[in-house]
């Protein structure tokens, strides 16, 4: 019987597969013990739970009961206002209506006002009960405490309400008003 036939290339991994000890070759073992990812993940998950619990505080008295609806950055399409609502005139230019519980004042407000009312945007301020009718017409949300809102609405030149949100810290967020008024201009 001839033995001329051989299997070219078959011995690429080991000469005798029955005696092969591949698993004990360097590099066969994974570089991590199996329990390490689970242990690290458990620790990280614990930290994450704490962070989220601390970071995501429940809505405050002045906030929207549904955080998703507060400062969502989404433009509205309505409602359309008449030219005059409770002494406030609309049409022909973009109007920002600020609702507050106390008369706003101070350098932070001045800065906010300067930022908001540039580019020909008119600012109307309504304080407390004096803004109730206007708040109702522009669709301002009611805060958690059920009292008058603190926040603002943006009405475009065609008297359409394009944005209405509660924002108890509006003085920090002048750029947000600027983005909205810039988009509806």
């Amino acid at each position: 019987m001839t033995t001329a036939v051989t299997r070219a290339g078959l011995a690429s991994c080991c000469d005798d597969p029955q005696d092969a000890d591949w698993g004990r070759l360097p590099g066969a073992e994974p570089p991590l013990r199996w329990w390490i990812p689970a242990a690290v993940t458990a620790a990280v998950a614990l930290v994450l739970v704490l962070v989220v619990v601390l970071v995501v505080r429940p809505p405050g008295a002045l906030d929207d009961p549904d955080p998703a609806d507060q400062r969502d950055g989404l433009l509205l399409e309505g409602p359309a206002l008449p030219p005059d609502v409770d002494g406030a005139e609309f049409g022909g230019r973009t109007v920002v209506v600020l609702f507050e519980r106390d008369e706003p004042a101070g350098p932070a407000f001045d800065t906010w006002k300067a930022t908001v009312s540039d580019d020909g945007v008119e600012l109307i301020v309504r304080v407390g009960a004096a803004g109730e009718e206007l708040a109702r017409r522009v669709g301002m949300p009611t805060p958690v405490d059920g009292m008058s809102p603190v926040g603002y609405a943006v009405v475009d030149a065609s008297r359409t309400v394009r944005y209405a949100t509660l924002d108890p810290v509006y003085e920090k967020n002048a750029f947000e008003v600027d983005v909205i008024t810039g988009a509806v201009a």
Binding site: M1, T2, T3, A4, V5, T6, R7, A8, G9, L10, A11, S12, C13, C14, P17, Q18, A20, D21, W22, G23, R24, L25, P26, G27, A28, E29, P30, P31, L32, R33, W34, I36, P37, A38, V40, T41, V44, A45, L48, V49, V51, V52, V55, V56, P67, A68, R71, D72, G73, L74, V169, K172, N173, F175, E176, D178, V179, I180, G182, A183
Partner: protein, 445 residues
């Protein structure tokens, strides 16, 4: 993914402890910076929402990748979370550039819609931790399985999908190939039937039934195929041949009639070369013998998209095969119905087992055909009695191609039929297997 040491190194790269520690520190620092950028605008809950969404999405994607490819990836695991977070919060970055939100921005991992999930960030926290837990659970099981295999002296089952992601493969040196067996007491020779690529012992059942009472028939599932799907981590030709040798030794040591179909013929000849004392005679039905690798590519690739992609070393083949493994349960239910529409001759169990194999076994079998096939040399001057059954209408192994490879010592039997001869003409194939070696003749059944 290669089952060679350099392949192991590549697969393990995403798990290097030092790299992971550095990635974790970078991720934490980057997230603190992102958190601070939201905190300035009293928008902390937005940071939390988009981070949790990104964590959930990244975890699920990493899980799918692990299940489909049989190895963790990408190389940098944790920056994937940061990347998805930046993607999810992109509309907020755009907002800071002067563009308000629009509904279409939900393409950024549901940037607008995610805020409306009932329960808000509490719900997202649960979803994110569940997704992360699923991924880490699968990764833990994968690591444990690879450690177990290495401890047993097996190459790690990298690239193995299906249950091998979660459980270690069995050691083929300690467990025999799962096989069908009938008529141990039958008169006549012991016949071992080897199936071909993407097949299993089910393929031989019609022939085994024809051989009942005339021979002791043993029909194994090759490593990684059919019922042997959880056997072995390495599927080169020598591994398959060694597994068959062990099976024959455990059945009395032969010599046996080794009958094989298509790719199985390559294994059969490898067995005959390694252990000629175990083989009385070879009967090779539509053997996957080609003049060269180019012809093999043309013939096999022409019949199967996935084979074509595999032979061109395309990563698409691995992903497609891994996805099939992931969907194996529904596919095995669906396959018989689909097969019945295409060809009513295909038995349901053959159709079912056509999707019951692991990707590296399929890939390595094709590699053997291209690079390691001993068939042409064997056919030129076979050291053992060899019968080749040619399927006259075979479109994979063309009769003309095959005849050109056969030396004068090869007994040739011609049978009308296609590449699936053992299920099309089981009686004729059984007769060919039981023929007494009569060289230099050509028979037409």
């Amino acid at each position: 993914m290669s089952a060679e040491p350099d392949g192991w190194s590549r697969a393990y790269r995403p798990l290097r402890p030092r790299s992971l520690a550095v990635q974790l520190v970078l991720l934490v620092v980057a997230e603190i910076a992102l958190y601070a950028s939201y905190d300035v605008h009293d928008a902390r809950f937005h940071w939390a929402t988009h981070f949790l969404v990104a964590l959930a999405f990244a975890s699920l994607l990493l899980l799918v990748r692990l299940l489909v490819t049989g190895a963790p990836g990408p190389r940098l695991l944790l920056p994937a979370v940061l990347g998805f977070h930046l993607f999810a919060m992109a509309p907020d970055l755009i907002f800071r550039g002067g563009v308000p939100h629009y509904r279409w921005m939900d393409v950024f991992l549901g940037h607008v819609a995610v805020h409306y999930l009932p329960g808000g960030d509490g719900s997202w926290l649960v979803i994110a931790l569940t997704s992360l837990g699923l991924f880490v659970g699968a990764l833990t099981a994968w690591l444990r399985a690879r450690h177990t295999e290495a401890d047993a002296g097996l190459p790690p089952g990298i690239g193995l999908t299906g249950m091998a992601v979660l459980r270690p493969q069995a050691d083929p040196r300690r467990a025999t190939l799962v096989h069908d067996e009938n008529d141990r007491a039958a008169e006549g020779p012991t016949v071992v039937l080897l199936h071909g690529l993407g097949s299993s012992s089910a393929f031989w059942r019609p022939v085994a039934a024809e051989l009942a009472g005339k021979a002791c028939v043993v029909v194994p599932n090759l490593l990684g195929f059919g019922a042997s799907i959880r056997l072995g981590t390495h599927f080169h030709l020598d591994d398959q041949a060694a597994a068959v040798v062990r099976l024959v030794e455990r059945h009395g040591g032969g010599p046996v009639v080794l009958a094989a179909h298509s790719y199985g013929a390559v294994v059969a000849v490898a067995v005959a070369i390694d252990r000629p004392d175990l083989v009385r005679r070879l009967v090779l039905i539509a053997p996957a013998a080609f003049a060269d690798a180019a012809q093999a590519r043309e013939r096999i690739g022409g019949r199967s998209w996935i084979a074509r992609k595999t032979m061109s070393d395309s990563a698409v083949a691995g992903v497609a095969c891994g996805t099939m493994c992931l969907l194996r349960r529904p596919l095995t239910s669906l396959a018989p119905r689909v097969a019945a529409q295409i060809s009513p001759d295909i038995p349901p169990d053959v159709a079912r087992d056509a999707v019951r194999y692991v990707w590296p076994a399929y890939r390595d079998a094709l590699t053997s055909l291209l690079r390691d096939s001993p068939l042409p040399a064997w056919f030129a001057d076979p050291p053992l009695p060899t019968t080749v059954v040619i399927a006259e209408d075979d479109q994979t192994v063309l009769a003309g191609d095959l005849e050109g490879l056969l030396g004068t010592e090869v007994e040739v039997v011609r049978v009308p039929g296609t590449h699936g001869l053992p299920i099309e003409r089981p009686a004729d194939v059984a007769r060919a297997i039981l023929l007494r070696g009569n060289r230099r003749v050509s028979i037409t059944l």
